[in-house]
């Protein structure tokens, strides 16, 4: 068995080298397929990160009248924190709101003059509410209509980040559909090329195969080199992809990170943490695809 396996491997390697240009075309096609699939993954990571970042920034500011009692405010905070949709409630006191306003408009002489003219702190306390999901804000806004404190609320300010998220989602969905179609097209072409590579391989080795049959080689021994050759091509394709993708991520990640401010898109981290799963899965998928294509070609052209 060991001797036969060694010889099958040797024949597979011979097939690869003897049909080098054909093998190279097959390899290129598999590489293109893997490239588009990994591009899809990169796109997914960036989109998820972008949406998470936007969602993290979504907040609802609830401004109370400056006359609002401390107990009313406390009961509002307790009530909101009790809601499962609420992730965090930050309290900004009237003084803090005043100081923040001054800091923001310190260069605007007109505003500062108006503030001085008032002579007192015009701001009331503010609650800054963060939700688990953007869609939860609608329910939180409804919940604020509580008779215990609704009359103390002067204003509610909710920036419509939902539409931004939806736009990001919509654009990336469309890009994803395009990339998926592209990947499927490449996959289909890859299957055809594998099919034809095996077909030509069978044609080139027809004399050898006929003699193998004549002298009593079993079917496995005749077919295995073709299958193994395609496994080898798949392995090289995944190997090259791995060798290219990590340096590429190191190069592009700083460019992508620019759009995430101080945070990272986490592309390299994602591919490092899930490398085995991603590339193992891709290798397995390629092996299955090449096995099916090779099997079909052998069934059609290799009579043993």
């Amino acid at each position: 068995m060991f001797v036969s396996s060694y010889r099958v491997t040797k024949f597979a390697l011979q097939n690869f080298w003897r049909n080098f240009w054909l093998s190279l075309i097959t390899l290129s096609m598999l590489l293109l397929t893997l490239f588009t699939i990994n591009l899809l993954l990169v796109l997914n990571v960036v989109t998820d990160r972008a949406i998470a970042l936007v969602e993290d920034r979504v907040e609802l500011s609830v401004y109370f009248y400056d006359s609002t009692q401390e107990t009313t405010l406390s009961s509002a905070v307790a009530y909101l924190r009790g809601l499962s949709q609420v992730r965090d409630v930050e309290i900004i006191s009237a003084d803090e709101a005043y100081q923040q306003f001054i800091q923001r408009h310190t260069d605007d002489a007109q505003i500062m003059a108006s503030l001085q003219e008032l002579g007192e702190n015009p701001f009331g306390p503010t609650l800054v509410i963060k939700a688990d999901q953007v869609g939860d804000f609608e329910m939180i806004i409804d919940a604020l209509d509580n008779p215990q404190f609704r009359d103390s609320i002067r204003e509610k300010d909710f920036s419509d980040y939902q539409s931004i998220v939806e736009r990001i989602q919509s654009i990336t969905d469309r890009i994803q559909v395009f990339v998926i179609i592209l990947a499927l097209v490449f996959l289909f072409i890859a299957c055809l090329i594998v099919f034809n590579t095996v077909r030509i391989g069978i044609f080139i080795h027809r004399d050898e195969i006929a003699i193998m049959r004549l002298v009593g080689a079993n079917n496995w021994f005749i077919k295995a080199p073709f299958l193994l050759e395609m496994v080898l091509v798949s392995f090289i394709a995944v190997g090259i992809t791995i060798a290219m993708i990590y340096p590429a991520l190191i190069l592009i990640e700083p460019q992508v990170d620019v759009y995430f401010g101080s945070q990272s898109a986490g592309l390299f981290e994602y591919f490092t943490q899930n490398g085995l799963l991603i590339f193992g899965g891709e290798f397995l998928a390629l092996v299955i695809i090449t096995f099916v294509s090779t099997g079909m070609a052998m069934k059609k052209y290799l009579k043993v």
Binding site: M1, S4, R7, D207, I211, M212, V215, N218, N219
Partner: protein, 226 residues
């Protein structure tokens, strides 16, 4: 060794390859199957190494009923039968040694055993001094001897030679026939399919004559009559 019981082979739509052929070949016999082109000689040979399946009848080789042999068992059968063809069927990119060794390699024989056996077999066919030559560097007769060596390398109980002298001149044909006789003397059953009158007449062994897929004569120490 070989038993055909009412074997027929029909090819669609209605071409008769063999028509109700029955024969029995003893171990160690040298049998020539003769007949005009298209009389079913090659069909009979193909049935022997399971290249074709009979439409009707029973075929036994060494007590093994191969009538409905399963695909996975064909390699086992072929390792017990050596086959030689008119066109030699040698791999042109392999040397004499490699061509013979190839038959053992595909059967999973260990390299040490291959290194022992191949030169021995090539000595039997008098090519021990041409191991490193390529087929195109050999004469037709020598190429056929390489093919015979390859057929013998599994130490088969039976050797089927389908028109082995068809591409050879008289001198080379005689050499091949002498070699087949020598192999037969070692105990290997030989089935020679031929239409070479002179060779058959020189042999003076059993001759089975086919016509239109039927056996019309089966004579010990026969001659080519057609």
């Amino acid at each position: 060794m070989i038993r055909f019981k009412n074997v027929s082979k029909l090819y669609p739509p209605n071409v008769v390859g063999l028509d109700c052929v029955s024969l029995h070949v003893q171990p160690g016999e040298f049998v020539s199957i003769v007949g005009k082109s298209g009389t079913g000689k090659s069909t009979l040979a193909k049935l022997l190494f399971a290249e074709e399946r009979p439409t009707r009848g029973v075929i036994e080789i060494g007590g093994w009923d191969i009538t409905h042999i399963h695909d996975r068992d064909i390699p086992l059968l072929r390792r017990q039968i050596g086959v030689v063809f008119q066109d030699f069927k040698l791999l042109q990119k392999k040397t004499v040694y490699e061509n013979v060794a190839f038959a053992l390699q595909v059967a999973g024989v260990f390299p040490r055993r291959i290194r022992e056996v191949v030169p021995q077999v090539l000595d039997i066919v008098n090519l021990g001094n041409k191991l490193a030559r390529y087929p195109k560097q050999l004469s037709g007769g020598e190429q056929q001897r390489v093919a015979i060596a390859r057929a013998l390398v599994h130490s088969p109980k039976m050797l089927i030679a389908d028109e082995p002298t068809g591409n050879l001149d008289t001198l080379n044909s005689r050499e091949i026939m002498d070699l087949l006789k020598k192999i037969n003397e070692f105990g290997t059953t030989i089935v020679l399919v031929t239409h070479d009158r002179e060779m058959v007449n020189r042999l003076r062994r059993r001759v089975i004559t086919l016509e239109d897929g039927k056996i019309i004569s089966d004579v010990e120490e026969g001659r080519y009559k057609l």
